[in-house]
């Protein structure tokens, strides 16, 4: 029997596969298609203190083997997420990782404190890497000192382990990772999207109304793998890796590079059954490669 379980701070995962934040809403839509209890965990859409209406449309544009998005953290706000979305998810046997966003440290602290008390929230993912909002988000994720202090502030109030979501839009991602480790983070999730643009060739105007957007999908996998590899080499924090995962071999690659579990984002739009399909294929693929547990695979590239 292949052992798919993964133990991480706050999280006893049945398997290492979970949908990434923002690509799965609060689960309701995909629950029409399959039983969410199959998933290792669910990373819910970013939650802010107040309702956020997001950016003007177009908010998405297709690019070579990828897509840009500038949703702008649209979400119903803390009260609705705590009062409606999270209780609804309780019917499933699946740990929730709540994605927390804000424009000030106080915002992050307020959401983290409240949402970490929900019974099914087993960990927080602090989004200091959203490229699509004018204030906050990415500014917290590009300066190591700011990232460390935010981590500290959130850690102080959270009732569950805290994972910090790193931005790839930095020169030295290891320095940010080390800073959040020093701030007391329990883990790292990475990567968020890469800032990009697409033009309408005829008019010369950017397609995305926000002008720039975050690049995701298969196109970013090499960048994500490189960053997971570097960060896992230089910090002790467990990593939930993501960026361009579409199939079981991508999962193997992220685990080999040093991730302990993975998240699947954009691929849900292409194949809504991608998560359960990968979970189904994982035991056989591990077996073929000569492993009988997921944990054996984690970070193997560093041991070769």
């Amino acid at each position: 029997m292949t052992d798919l379980t993964v133990k991480l701070p706050g999280l006893n995962l049945k398997n290492p596969i979970m949908p990434a934040s923002g690509c799965f809403g609060f689960g309701k839509e995909y629950a029409q298609l399959y039983d969410l209890s199959q998933l290792g965990a669910i990373m819910i859409k970013a939650t802010t203190v107040e309702t956020r209406l997001g950016n003007p449309t177009p908010r998405v544009a297709e690019t070579a083997s990828g897509m840009l998005n500038a949703i702008g953290l649209q979400n119903p706000g803390l009260e609705k997420v705590s009062g409606q979305e999270l209780p609804w998810l309780e019917q499933y046997d699946v740990p929730i990782i709540a994605n927390v966003a804000g424009t000030t440290t106080e915002d992050y602290v307020e959401v983290a404190k409240a949402i970490s008390q929900a019974p099914n929230v087993h960990a927080l993912e602090i989004n200091i890497s959203c490229p699509n909002v004018k204030l906050g988000g990415i500014t917290f994720g590009t300066d190591p000192d700011v990232a460390r202090e935010l981590t500290r502030a959130v850690k102080e109030v959270s009732s569950v382990p805290v994972y910090i979501k790193l931005s790839p839009n930095v020169t030295d991602i290891v320095s940010i990772a080390k800073a959040v480790e020093a701030g007391g983070a329990d883990g790292i999730t990475m990567i968020n999207t890469l800032l990009g643009m697409r033009m309408d060739t005829k008019t010369g105007r950017p397609i995305i109304a926000n002008i720039t957007g975050g690049l995701s999908g298969p196109a970013i996998k090499p960048v994500a793998l490189r960053m997971v590899y570097e960060v896992s080499k230089h910090t002790k924090l467990p990593i939930i890796g993501m960026g361009g995962i579409t199939n079981v071999d991508d999962v193997i690659d992220f685990l080999s590079a040093g991730a302990s579990a993975v998240a699947v984002g954009t691929a849900n739009f292409v194949n809504p059954f991608v998560c359960p399909e990968i979970i189904g294929q994982l035991p056989e693929r591990l077996h073929e490669l000569g492993f009988d547990s997921v944990e054996q695979l984690v970070g193997r590239s560093h041991r070769l």
Binding site: C23, G25, Q32, L53, G54, R59, V60, A61, M67, I71
Partner: protein
């Protein structure tokens, strides 16, 4: 219920310039009910192009478990779609969204369409006629070469065509025809470019109307917040075109 299925291509033909009619068969077709719903199509098994393409259902044949779409092949995705041959399999997600409410019409309905907004009006016209509602079709196209389904609409009711260049029917937009027609209908249904939807709404502020909107999509099922529009209800109210629509009552969506 929403399904994902590899459906079989039964027929594909170019029925006007760059306009293709594509018929697919599979169990998913049996889930289709309302006119105006759409499907989300993966045009290649690779990740290039990556995203699915939303295309409306133009007619449903439940007996044969088939449905037909009509689309304009212009970009990468629809270009690849146009290469599919009978016997090929196509990855389809659907049926998606909420379509036109046929039960809202009482006696006579105007169906107003522009370009690639015309296709869903065909299944709508069929279903309204089946309920003994008189339908009048006002359809706008770029030019004579782009006109399709004129005869099929004529079989179902009065049909008026406008072309931008005047090469067929009335020269100009559908609104030019609407100005000449009596307002003796109780309900209108419309699908087409946003500017056309706006003009139609302005033309009939007193009438009951239903409009089908377009937005660029990610997931197509309501999970990603790509396709959001605000509404006239309140400052903070919004809808998702993919799952709350694409059809909404007139006067609701701020596009």
């Amino acid at each position: 219920m929403i399904k994902q299925e590899r459906m079989q291509v039964i027929k594909q033909q170019e029925i006007a310039k760059h306009i293709f009619e594509l018929t697919l068969q599979g169990e998913l077709a049996n889930e289709m009910a309302e006119p105006g719903q759409f499907v989300h199509i993966r045009v290649a098994d690779s990740f290039e192009p990556l995203l699915r393409r939303p295309i409306s259902v133009a007619s449903i044949d439940l007996e044969a478990s088939q449905f037909t779409m009509i689309y304009r092949a212009e970009g990468r995705g629809t270009g690849l779609l146009a290469e599919k041959k009978p016997g090929d399999m196509l990855d389809v997600l659907g049926p998606l969204g909420h379509g036109f409410p046929v039960e809202e019409a009482q006696k006579k309905a105007y169906l107003i369409g522009g370009g690639i907004g015309v296709p869903p009006l065909y299944e709508l016209a069929k279903q309204l006629n089946a309920r003994s509602i008189e339908t009048v079709h006002i359809l706008g196209f770029e030019s004579k070469q782009a006109v399709f389904y004129e005869d099929k609409f004529r079989e179902l009711g009065d049909t008026h065509i406008a072309t931008v260049d005047g090469s067929h029917g009335t020269q100009g937009f559908v609104t030019h025809i609407l100005n000449e027609l009596p307002s003796d209908f109780d309900t209108y249904y419309s699908c087409g470019p946003t500017a056309m939807l706006e003009a139609v709404q302005w033309a009939y502020p007193q009438k009951k109307g239903f409009l089908s909107y377009e937005q660029r999509m990610g997931c197509g099922i309501g999970a990603c917040f790509a396709c959001v529009c605000r509404t006239t209800k309140s400052e903070t109210d919004y809808i998702k075109v993919c799952s709350d629509g694409p059809v909404f009552p007139a006067g609701v969506v701020i596009s």
